[in-house]
């Protein structure tokens, strides 16, 4: 990799477990130090470098703060790019996903705000379980396939939590 790794930009070791508040604080600090305003009197080259640095910092932050993106990035660092444009056949998990989406649809139809809150908590628990499992196996070569399956599952839960947020916004109106 020609550019420093996303973790190195934040002076972190590659790890799945991250303190997101700390990451956000560090991001704000670093972003300030390369803000264009600080380079108003600098040379054109310095300005350009600051801009490039600011862009890679932003990209690194967007990747690291999202659990599925961070997980995929870690696998990529280990030399395993995970293609997402492939069909998943993980019947039991997909069956449950289908059920959850049906439940969410019913919550929408019945405008059940308390139900949505409960649903959200359950989803959060499931996401944390996935995160724990991934943290325990991503750097173990023998458990590589398991790590990949977990990342794919994370993708679906990530989409589902996005749908929940959208539903909340609609019900709030």
């Amino acid at each position: 990799m020609g550019t420093p790794c996303h973790f190195a930009l934040f002076e972190l070791q590659p790890s799945f477990r991250l303190d997101l508040d700390q990451l956000a604080a560090r991001y704000r600090e670093l972003a300030r130090s390369v803000h264009p305003d600080r380079f108003a009197d600098a040379t054109e080259r310095e300005q350009r470098l600051a801009l490039e640095h600011s862009a890679s910092l932003n990209e690194a932050y967007q990747t690291l703060k999202s659990a599925p993106k961070r997980a995929r990035y870690l696998l990529a660092l280990r030399g395993h790019e995970l293609p997402l444009e492939v069909t998943v056949q993980d019947p039991e998990f997909l069956m449950q996903q289908m059920q959850w989406r049906e439940e969410l649809e019913e919550l929408q139809d019945s405008v059940d705000l308390a139900g949505v809150a409960t649903f959200k908590r359950r989803l959060k628990v499931a996401q944390e379980e996935l995160n724990d499992s991934f943290a325990a196996c991503w750097d173990v070569t023998a458990r590589h396939e398991e790590a990949e399956r977990l990342v794919r599952r994370m993708q679906f839960l990530d989409k589902l939590s996005y749908e929940v947020r959208q539903l909340e916004e609609r019900l709030d109106d």
Binding site: L84, E85, V88, M98
Partner: protein, 128 residues
């Protein structure tokens, strides 16, 4: 992105939405998902003694193209034999729906769902 009229038609009036009893020995169920967009698709077929698909149902949580692809797939499968159904290609679905290149993977998902449903049925009947 603009959807084609056919996609909008299938999206607004999806054919064959529903659920069959997955435990029914004459029913084959295909469950597939696309991790990139988090879409989930269930496609089911009911097959008669002659090996002809009598009915097909689907349920898709995903974008308009994914819904349209699975809706069209169920339409095409009805009345076909299992072998004929298995020859349905994603490119045919994509062409019929005029899917743009970025949405081709939605038709791939539908093709994979067809194959998964047929395989599930064959497994139940001990044909594999």
């Amino acid at each position: 992105m603009a959807y084609s009229e056919k996609v909008i038609d299938h999206y607004e009036n999806p054919r064959n939405v529903g659920k069959m009893d997955a435990e029914d020995p004459d029913v084959g169920t295909g469950m597939v998902g696309a991790p990139a967009c988090g879409d989930v698709m269930r496609l089911q077929i009911k097959v008669n003694d002659q090996g002809v698909i009598e009915d097909a149902k689907f349920k898709t949580y995903g974008c308009g193209s994914a819904i349209a692809s699975s809706s069209l797939a169920t339409e095409w499968m009805k009345g076909k034999t299992l072998d004929e159904a298995e020859t349905i290609k994603n490119t045919q679905l994509a062409e019929e729906l005029a899917l743009p290149p970025v949405k081709i993977h939605c038709s791939v998902l539908a093709e994979d769902a067809i194959k998964a449903a047929v395989r599930d049925y064959k497994q139940k009947k001990g044909l594999l």
